[in-house]
């Protein structure tokens, strides 16, 4: 396996992303968008596409930059640090990983549009309060050449603003994946007032007629097709969440160095020092897990499940510890909306649930480790 240290290219990519995002899309931008009731930022996405980010997992045959999963994680981590709002995970990571399993002309065209930033995608998988790709009740009923979809998808991230939706449905012959426009007749988007101020929706399918071409691959192959996309998404979300944890931790250690209480810099209180040091250790382990998941996804993606679940579980837990300690160590100011820590805390909560929470991924690990 490639080494668990950043390559020179990755370091350069990371620096470029850091420079770009801290200027164009820092936390203050999320605050502005929230206050303005905006949930997406198409201009920013265009710039990211121009930098090759939208095509990070699009093959070169479809004019993508095809930098791979580890590179996608470098970007996701910087997006996490800045809490940048973008369809990166849904579109550039998950949809691209899913679609690149096909090489027909129509799919290549879509991948090309993804890389160009011309279309965005959302993944419609969950139907319940907790993540599970197994319990699918949305039905796809064969009619003529096409299908009729009926049911409801929950917590579809980017579900309002995405141009297209990848829908997991249950047919008589097993799970299927459909690639639909988000304006299909019979579809309703119920906007969710998300605590992280981002785009998510419940999608209602009421006799939605779709053509036979919108079915991806074989009937019944839905889960096999979805799996690599899900794992890519989980790992990239782990990378994003790790970036979030690091940024919240940096805010906290800065505060510990500057804030005085009872006349003494609070960072000199040993109890806080040890808690901060412990948190640093946690972040360090999580960072390794994310690096490892990236390497394995790039080198032997079919064996990535364990590595991905370790990364997602660790990142979920670490980010929550980081924001919780962040608020507590900041005291009152950490609780105010005027300070950024709350944004980190809310995003950490949403990221914890999306694509499987700690318990889900720890369960995967236990299963793969034989207990």
């Amino acid at each position: 396996m490639a080494k668990l240290i950043q390559t020179e290219e990755e370091t350069l990519l990371s620096e470029a992303a850091h420079g770009f995002l801290s200027k164009s899309a820092p936390v203050s931008r999320l605050r502005e968008m929230r206050d303005a009731g905006k949930r997406n930022d198409p201009e920013l996405w265009q710039e990211m596409a121009a930098a090759g980010w939208a095509g990070v997992l699009v093959p070169e045959t479809a004019e993508g930059s095809d930098m791979g999963h580890a590179a996608a994680h470098v970007l996701a981590r910087e997006l996490g640090r800045n809490l940048t709002v973008s369809p990166f995970l849904s579109t550039a990571v998950m949809a691209a990983t899913l679609l690149r399993q096909f090489s027909d002309e129509a799919t290549i065209a879509k991948l090309k549009q993804i890389a160009e930033g011309a279309i965005t995608y959302a993944m419609a998988i969950d139907e319940n309060a907790k993540f599970s790709q197994e319990r699918v009740e949305l039905t796809a009923e064969k009619r003529g050449n096409g299908y009729i979809l009926n049911g409801k998808k929950r917590f579809v991230v980017d579900g309002c603003e995405a141009d297209r939706i990848l829908v997991l449905a249950n047919s008589n012959e097993g799970l299927c994946l459909f690639d639909l426009t988000n304006k299909s007749k019979g579809m309703t988007q119920e906007t969710l007032a998300m605590i992280d101020s981002r785009d998510a929706a419940d999608l209602i399918f009421d006799d939605v007629e779709v053509s036979g071409e919108s079915l991806l691959g074989e009937v019944g192959a839905g889960y096999e097709l979805l799996k690599p996309a899900l794992e890519a998404g989980q790992a990239a979300l782990a990378a994003e969440t790790t970036g979030l944890a690091e940024a919240a931790f940096a805010l906290t250690t800065d505060y510990l160095k500057e804030r005085k209480q009872f006349g003494i810099t609070i960072g000199s209180f040993q109890a806080l020092q040890h808690r901060a040091a412990h948190l640093w250790c946690e972040i360090e382990l999580t960072h390794s897990a994310v690096l490892n998941a990236g390497r394995i996804l790039d080198e032997s993606p079919e064996q990535a499940t364990l590595a991905v679940s370790v990364a997602k579980a660790r990142a979920t837990d670490t980010a929550q510890k980081s924001v919780q300690e962040g608020v507590q160590m900041h005291g009152g100011i950490g609780m105010t909306d005027a300070f950024d820590m709350g944004f980190y805390m809310k995003r950490a909560r949403v990221a914890a649930e999306w694509l499987g929470d700690y318990g889900y991924h720890a369960g995967q690990v236990a299963q793969l480790r034989g207990f």
Partner: protein, 389 residues
């Protein structure tokens, strides 16, 4: 826990209370609601949510049941602790709402009862009992955090009056309060803990302005409160001038117990058991389930501890510094409980509205307000364990 058998002696009292409640508590006030929205805070600008809320308050005021343990002379019912418990049990049994909640009842009242002059008690307590005057608390100052003794807001001696200048933060509901009780620095030369006085001020006094603070959990009861050349009569000092720290310390202990209690009330608004049973994975995910089991065991032990401390207090043994423990354990546990509720509810909890999200975020302040968890631990370390430094 804690079904209290107050013995035969109180059977009659219990019957009386039950009958009175049956007759006087309006059906609308028997819905067991305990959230922010259903509280009656009282005060001059209060708008009752319905006639029943107003009736319920008035009938309780008449019996002294807004402050059951206060002496009758100050608007209470003069109940002893057993009687008070029975009243609470009977109210709980029919899901009766609290008729009135206020910082006046929780905080200022106990302080006045202990430190106020007879004149002050007669003047200030009855309007609190009747819900006519709403109070807010002015302790914290910007940048001072847990260091309450670092009070900077200054009261300059002008003979019969003080001239107050400065700023307070985290004053709950200051924008809706009629009066404020505050810590002011009345002697700049004295050492930190000395030179502070506990002062009552009319919020309509010229020079007082307020500005709400938005929290990460959304709109909040907290404000910043500014004082610019505010004149305050010296008769409005509670206790001895420059010894306000004694009053503050007493109230801090009191507040800690209240928050740890409140913490539980919040948590039990929706029992962890119910949340997990309803949850998608509450049964099947060992991580969530194991953590919830731990939290439940701990919550029960904390309830038993509150009960024990009350028994101690009644036996004349003050809780004292151990209130720091209640504050610390209560608020930390409540944070854990809400984390578990969020996890159990999954995606359902990730939106604003009828979800636990606001409560979850709000609990994060519990371990900061009224003295941080770290301050509580240091108090225990020094005053109870006698560790050095």
């Amino acid at each position: 826990m804690g079904e209290v058998d107050a013995g035969q002696d109180h059977a009659e009292f219990r019957r009386d209370v039950r009958e009175w409640l049956e007759e006087n508590c309006p059906p609308e006030m028997r819905d067991g609601a305990a959230g922010e929205d259903s509280i009656c805070w009282g005060g001059s600008s209060w708008t009752f949510t319905c006639t029943a809320q107003k009736d319920w308050l008035e009938r309780c005021v008449e019996r002294g049941f807004t402050v059951p343990t206060w002496p009758k002379a100050y608007g209470g019912a003069g109940l002893n602790r057993d009687e008070d418990k029975i009243l609470k049990q009977e109210m709980q049994a029919i899901g009766a709402r609290s008729p009135l909640d206020s910082f006046g009842i929780w905080m200022l009242g106990p302080a006045l009862l202990k430190f106020g002059s007879e004149e002050q008690k007669l003047h200030f307590l009855p309007p609190i009992a009747r819900g006519e005057i709403r109070w807010c608390q002015g302790y914290s100052e910007p940048g001072a955090g847990s260091d309450l003794a670092g009070v900077q807001t200054h009261a300059a001696d002008q003979g019969d009056t003080w001239l107050v200048n400065g700023q307070k933060i985290w004053t709950s509901y200051a924008d809706r309060a009629d009066w404020i009780f505050a810590l002011l620095r009345t002697d700049r030369e004295a050492k930190k803990h000395l030179g502070i006085s506990f002062v009552l001020m009319d919020m309509r006094s010229p020079g007082i302005t307020t500005r709400p603070i938005q929290l990460i959990s959304g709109a909040s009861p907290f404000c910043e409160t500014f004082f610019e050349n505010v004149e305050v009569p010296k008769t409005q000092v509670v206790g001895t001038i420059n010894r306000g720290w004694d009053v503050a310390k007493y109230l801090l202990t009191h507040e800690r117990e209240m928050i740890s209690n409140g913490g539980n009330v919040m948590g039990s608004g929706r029992a962890l058991g119910a949340v997990l049973s309803d949850s998608d994975t509450g049964q099947s995910d060992p991580v969530l389930r194991g953590d919830a089991m731990r939290a439940e065991v701990d919550s029960l032990a904390l309830e038993m501890t509150l009960e024990r401390y009350k028994d101690q207090a009644e036996g004349g043994q003050g809780v004292g510094d151990a209130s720091a423990m209640l504050k610390y354990m209560g608020t930390e546990l409540n944070k854990q409980r809400l984390e578990l509720v969020m996890a159990a509810d999954g995606a359902d909890a990730l939106t604003w509205g009828e979800t636990p999200a606001s409560s979850w975020l709000r609990t994060k302040a519990n371990s900061i307000e009224g003295g941080t968890s770290e301050v509580m631990l240091s108090i225990i370390s020094r005053r109870i364990l006698n560790l050095p430094g």
